[in-house]
Point group: C2
Chain length 308, copies 2
């Protein structure tokens, strides 16, 4: 076996999912997306706009330096075009470029994504005069890790909030940008949206299971969960967000939900991934249940093909 | 979500693993490998020679037309260089190019690999005068699906065998090529070499489990298995070859081995993949144990990235 092929490092890939506070003027959104798309080394995987939220979400990938350039190109397009003083929408927001997470996908560590968030944050503050708050893994401040905590009070309350102790931004001016507010920039793991359907219509059971497995009420560290009713199928569902699949793996959540369900005489009917899931989350489940040892991603045929 | 990205067809990839009857003259082997490597659209993933077997195995991948060209280039290099009349080695063989399987990897059906085997078989017979027997999925003849059945009697017994009823080749002359014998060309699924170690040193238990799960003694259709002893770890092992992971999945074999082991008061210590495994075999295990429904490979983040 040709070890040099197996050991070749993968091309580094970072994902970023900037959220911008414009979801109604689609010509403006198109121009912003075009600015990202025209950046060398970057691909836009997806973008979507929500009129009631008045917000758009863009998903892009590339090597760290190219993703950095793409985010700065995005600010260049957004800052003159989006004015929060005349913005309304259902979704909470604190800035024209509201949130910019960097997510390690392949051949990149979380530490490198944190470094990228700091570099971009500093550049945004300097070039555009927009104050930047770091969040999630990029923040060392326990009170400023959570996006909701930073965004509380929204754009309208931002000037007052920034005047209180503890709310000096990580980069940039001590007061909001007149039109663009502030930005929340950080690094996090990919989210997995994962639902488990029960063979019952009892919403109370789904809610009790959700309370048992989610972090906020005593459950697993990287789980958010709620019980919901699927009216069209007459089923109860535990609807889950996994915020770090490496530390709280899908299979552990599945097993815990099944065990809790059994306590109510209920079984798991099926589970479902909504949107995208990293291959490693599925491989980890296979390794767990098959008790695989000494397994390496280099043994996956497709990884071998990609390297060759 | 941008559906056109999700629905974009994958680039078709076929794997071929030609086995040639030369494993001692490494300069000859290098020249043969070079002929394959120089074919446009083809990558050699691996090759290795065994002196006691006097045999070399080359693993290559590419689109179907390029793989066809590479195999014909291989014959061009092998036929003048390898003479079975003066060949000896431990491994059974019937030809200079002994076996050529085509394996569907990505964006290619088994039917397309069967068609490729027939096309290459016809071309080999015509250009090199070597008789070709189709095997596995490429053969419609139940007595000529199994490689061992075709190879029985080896090169030395080939002329006599081909003179008996039922042994007319699928392509080419009714008698062996003087120096190059015959070739066995066909299509098959990727093999998975998979071992399950038991928390016991009892070889008899491993042997009983192997007999229970393997096809030849009443077990699962696409399983070959034997019990062995790992002397260095003082463990008994069920050593398995899975010849069609789509029809007999890894997780079903694992569960059956664990159930059979329990009958002897033994547990599964661990399992192990030897060499490469298709991503789909691991994904199928995750889908099975997590009871995943409505899941598509297009939801795997890395597949999405590759398409973009």
């Amino acid at each position: 076996m040709n070890d040099s092929v197996l050991n070749k490092p993968m091309m580094p890939i970072v994902e970023s999912i900037p959220n911008i506070s414009e979801g109604r003027k689609l010509d403006v959104v198109e121009r912003i997306v075009a600015a990202v798309q025209q950046t060398a080394g970057v691909r836009v995987l997806d973008y979507s706009s929500d009129a009631s939220h008045n917000r758009s979400v863009i998903t892009l990938v590339g090597d760290p330096a190219s993703v950095r350039n793409a985010i700065l190109a995005l600010y260049e397009a957004v800052v003159p075009a989006v004015d929060l003083r005349s913005h309304s929408g259902e979704h909470p927001r604190v800035g024209a470029v509201d949130v910019v997470p960097f997510v390690p996908i392949e051949g990149v560590t979380m530490a490198e994504c944190v470094a990228l968030a700091r570099e971009v944050g500093a550049a945004v503050a300097e070039r555009f005069g927009v104050p930047v708050f770091l969040y999630e893994e990029a923040s060392d401040n326990p009170g400023r890790k959570n996006l909701e905590d930073i965004r509380r009070g929204e754009f309208e309350g931002l000037a007052a909030k920034m005047a209180t102790p503890g709310w000096t931004p990580d980069f940039g001016p001590a007061t909001p940008h007149e039109a663009a507010g502030a930005s929340v920039i950080g690094a996090r793991m990919p989210l997995i949206a994962y639902n488990i359907n029960l063979n019952t219509d009892r919403l109370d059971v789904a809610r009790k299971i959700a309370a048992a497995v989610r972090h906020s009420s005593g459950g697993l560290r990287y789980v958010k969960a709620m019980g919901v009713k699927l009216d069209d199928r007459n089923l109860a569902q535990v609807s889950i967000n996994l915020t770090n699949y490496q530390k709280t793996p899908v299979h552990r959540v599945f097993d815990m939900v099944a065990r809790e369900a059994a306590r109510y005489g209920v079984a798991v009917l099926e589970s479902e991934v909504i949107g995208l899931i990293p291959a490693a989350a599925l491989t980890a489940a296979a390794e767990h249940y098959l008790q695989l040892e000494r397994f390496s991603p280099a043994q996956i045929l497709e990884n071998r093909l990609r390297e060759a």
